[in-house]
C-alpha cells in the first residue's frame, strides 16, 4: 500500500516474519513494515480481524508487533536497527498461529 518516494541511500536489514528485508535506516518499525508491502501488522486477539497502524504517533496501539522476542511493542515508536527480528502478531484467542 505504500512505497518509497525516492530511492533511499542508507538501508538496514531486518528479519520480518523470518525473511530478511532491506528497509530505509532511521524509520520506525511500523513504517518499515508498511513499506515492505504488508497491509496489516497484527490480528485482534478478540475478534481475529486484521489490524494495521492507525495513528502513527503512539496513541492507538494498533501497531503492536513482536520485536526482538518482546511481544506487544508499539512499533511506530521504535526505530529500526540492523538485524532486528520482527514478527507480526497473527494470533487468535490468545494462541499463536
Amino acid at each position: 500500500m505504500f512505497s518509497s518516494y525516492e530511492t533511499t541511500k542508507q538501508t538496514v536489514t531486518i528479519i520480518l516474519d523470518g525473511k530478511p528485508q532491506r528497509v530505509p535506516a532511521g524509520v520506525s518499525v511500523a513504517a518499515a513494515v508498511l513499506g515492505t508491502g504488508k497491509t496489516h501488522t497484527r490480528t485482534s486477539l478478540i475478534s481475529g480481524e486484521p489490524r494495521a497502524p492507525f495513528c502513527m504517533m503512539g496513541v492507538c496501539y494498533e501497531c503492536l508487533l513482536e520485536i526482538d522476542s518482546r511481544k506487544d511493542q508499539q512499533s511506530c515508536q521504535v526505530q529500526v536497527k540492523e538485524g532486528m527480528i520482527i514478527n507480526r502478531q497473527i494470533r487468535t484467542n490468545g494462541e499463536e498461529k
Binding site: S4, A31, L34, E49, P50, C55
Partner: protein, 468 residues
C-alpha cells in the same frame, strides 16, 4: 528528597515532557536563563509531531512539506546548540505532583525529579468511529503524514480522504504534490459556513496571509480535478480484510468511491493523559468539543509547579505553541528568581503580541470546523473500543441499564481497558453518554487516567532505578 516545604531538592530545576515546538522553545529559553533543564520525549529525535524527523528528512520531502515544516529548523538547531540534558526515546509513564517522573528508555525504567514540570505533550487527532474504521487501509491523515516525514513513504494505491479541518486539506495537497491518485475528498463540514463562524471572520481577516494559504489549498484541490464533497454524513468503509470502497451520504444521494486507502482527520484535541494522571483540573471547550487543562496565561495549571504548554494546553497550532513555551519559561524563571517580575512581564509583552497576532484567525477556524459528530447515526455493530472490540450497541445497552459515568461503562463492559487505555475511545464514550442521556459533557465527565501511561514490561518495573 524534599525540603521542609515539600519541594524536591534533588534533580533538575525543570523537566520538560515533550520535544515539540512548545517543549523545545521552552527548554531553549530556560537554558538561556541559566536553569538546569531535562527534556524527555518518546520519539528518537526532537521536533514533535509537526517537525518530526526534520534533521534527517530528504530535501525532496522537505520541498513537498513546505515552509510550515522547515520553519522548525532554526528552533531545533538552537536546541542542539544549547544542548540541555535530553532523553530521546524516553516514554514517561507516571508523573507525581511532587515533581517525580518515571520513564522508560531503552528497556529500562528510571526515576527523575524536578522542581517544575512542563507538560508539552501536544495534541492528538480526534478519534471518530464509523463502520469499517478498523480495517487495514484506514489511517489517520496525521499518520499518513508521519509516514512521509519519517519513512519517506507515499501511498501507491487509490486514496480517499474524509473528515474535516485544515489538516485534512493540507494532507490532500501534500499527496497531490507527490503524485498520489486521490479518488475523492469527503468533508463533513458543510459547503456554506455556519453563522457562528462568520462572527469571527472580521478578526480572522487580520491575517489575510493565513487565510490566503487556505484558499490556495482549495484551489490546488480544484485544479487537480478531485471530486470534493462537502456536508457528507454516514461515512463508512467496506472491504474484506482491507479497504475496498468508501461510502457516504450527501443529502439523500449516496457517494461510493472505490479505494485502497482512506485517510481520516476530524481535527485535533489536546492530549490530556499526563495532566489527568497528575491530577490537574480541566475545562471543557464547547465549540471544538474537547477537554483542556485549566491554566493561566503562563500555562500554570491548577498545580502550582506543573505547567501546560503548546497544543496540550489548548489547540492553537505550531507557532503559537512555541510562543506559549516561551511564556512558560519566563514564569518559571521568575519563580526561580532568575529574573524579577518586571523583567518577566516586559519580556512577555512582545511574545504576547505575537501570540495575539497568530491567534487572529483561530476562532474563525475553530467555529468553521466545529466537529459534527452525529454519533447516534453510528450503527450498533460498529466498534467503539478498538482494543477490546466493544460495539456501539453494547455501550448503548449499559447506558440504558443506568451507567451514566464513562468510568462505570468502562468497568462493566471493558472499553478503555485494552493497551491504549481509553485514549481512543474515552472521549467517544463520554459523547455517546451525553447524546443518549441528554446530559451535558461537563456532568458526564471523562475516563480516569492512571499509571502507567505507557505499557511497560513487568521486568522493567521490577528492576526500576529509583533516585538514590
Amino acid at each position: 528528597m524534599k525540603d521542609a516545604f515539600g519541594i524536591t531538592t534533588i534533580g533538575f530545576d525543570v523537566a520538560v515532557i515533550g520535544a515539540g515546538p512548545a517543549g523545545i522553545s521552552c527548554a531553549n529559553s530556560l537554558a538561556d536563563m541559566g536553569l538546569e533543564v531535562v527534556v524527555l520525549d518518546e520519539q528518537p529525535n526532537p521536533g514533535g509531531q509537526i517537525y518530526k524527523n526534520i534533521e534527517h528528512v530528504s530535501s525532496a520531502c522537505l520541498n513537498i512539506l513546505g515552509d510550515d515544516y522547515s520553519a522548525g529548523q532554526p528552533l531545533i538547531k538552537k536546541f542542539r546548540h544549547r544542548n540541555p540534558t535530553y532523553y530521546p526515546g524516553a516514554s514517561v509513564w507516571q508523573v507525581n505532583s511532587d515533581g517525580h517522573i518515571f520513564y522508560s528508555k531503552d528497556g529500562i525504567s528510571k526515576e527523575e525529579a524536578a522542581k517544575f514540570i512542563v507538560v508539552a505533550t501536544g495534541a492528538m487527532e480526534r478519534p471518530v468511529p464509523f463502520p469499517g474504521w478498523t480495517l487495514p487501509g484506514v489511517m489517520s491523515a496525521g499518520g499518513a503524514n508521519n509516514l512521509i516525514k519519517n519513512g519517506g513513504l507515499v501511498p501507491n494505491g487509490r486514496v480517499a480522504l474524509a473528515g474535516s479541518g485544515p489538516l485534512l486539506l493540507l494532507e490532500a495537497v501534500h499527496l497531490i504534490d507527490m503524485g498520489v491518485d486521490i479518488k475523492a475528498i469527503l468533508e463533513t463540514t458543510p459547503a456554506i459556513p455556519n453563522i457562528s463562524s462568520l462572527i469571527h471572520l472580521p478578526q480572522a481577516l487580520g491575517r489575510m496571509d493565513l487565510l490566503k494559504k487556505g484558499i490556495s489549498m482549495l484551489q490546488k484541490i480544484k485544479k487537480a480535478g478531485i471530486p470534493h464533497y462537502k456536508g457528507i454524513r454516514k461515512l463508512s468503509v467496506k472491504g474484506n480484510d482491507r479497504v475496498e470502497s468508501v461510502h457516504a451520504l450527501k443529502g439523500d444521494d449516496s457517494i461510493n468511491v472505490d479505494a485502497d486507502m482512506l485517510f481520516v482527520h476530524f481535527g485535533v484535541v489536546p492530549n490530556t493523559s499526563i495532566y489527568r494522571q497528575i491530577g490537574c483540573e480541566h475545562e471543557w471547550n464547547d465549540i471544538q468539543r474537547y477537554w483542556y487543562p485549566q491554566s493561566d496565561k503562563w500555562g500554570r495549571t491548577s498545580l502550582s509547579n506543573v505547567f501546560a504548554a503548546g497544543d496540550g494546553q489548548f489547540v492553537h497550532g505550531a507557532v503559537p505553541a512555541a510562543l506559549k513555551g516561551e511564556l512558560t519559561a519566563l514564569a518559571i524563571a521568575a519563580d526561580m528568581k532568575m529574573i524579577d517580575k518586571d523583567e518577566r512581564d516586559k519580556q512577555a509583552k512582545s511574545i504576547e503580541n505575537q501570540l495575539q497576532n497568530e491567534l487572529k484567525p483561530r476562532s474563525f477556524i475553530d467555529a468553521l470546523y466545529a466537529p459534527i459528530l452525529n454519533l447516534l447515526d453510528v450503527p450498533k455493530e460498529t466498534l467503539i473500543c478498538r482494543c477490546e472490540c466493544i460495539t456501539m450497541g453494547q455501550i448503548l445497552d449499559v447506558i440504558d441499564e443506568g451507567c451514566v459515568d464513562p468510568n462505570e461503562v468502562k468497568a462493566l463492559l471493558r472499553p478503555g481497558m485494552g493497551p491504549c487505555q481509553g485514549k481512543m475511545c474515552g472521549s467517544i464514550i463520554s459523547e455517546i453518554i451525553s447524546m443518549r442521556t441528554g446530559k451535558k459533557i461537563k456532568e458526564v465527565g471523562s475516563l480516569n487516567i492512571r499509571p502507567p501511561l505507557k505499557n511497560i514490561p513487568l521486568s522493567e518495573i521490577a528492576e526500576i532505578k529509583f533516585l538514590a
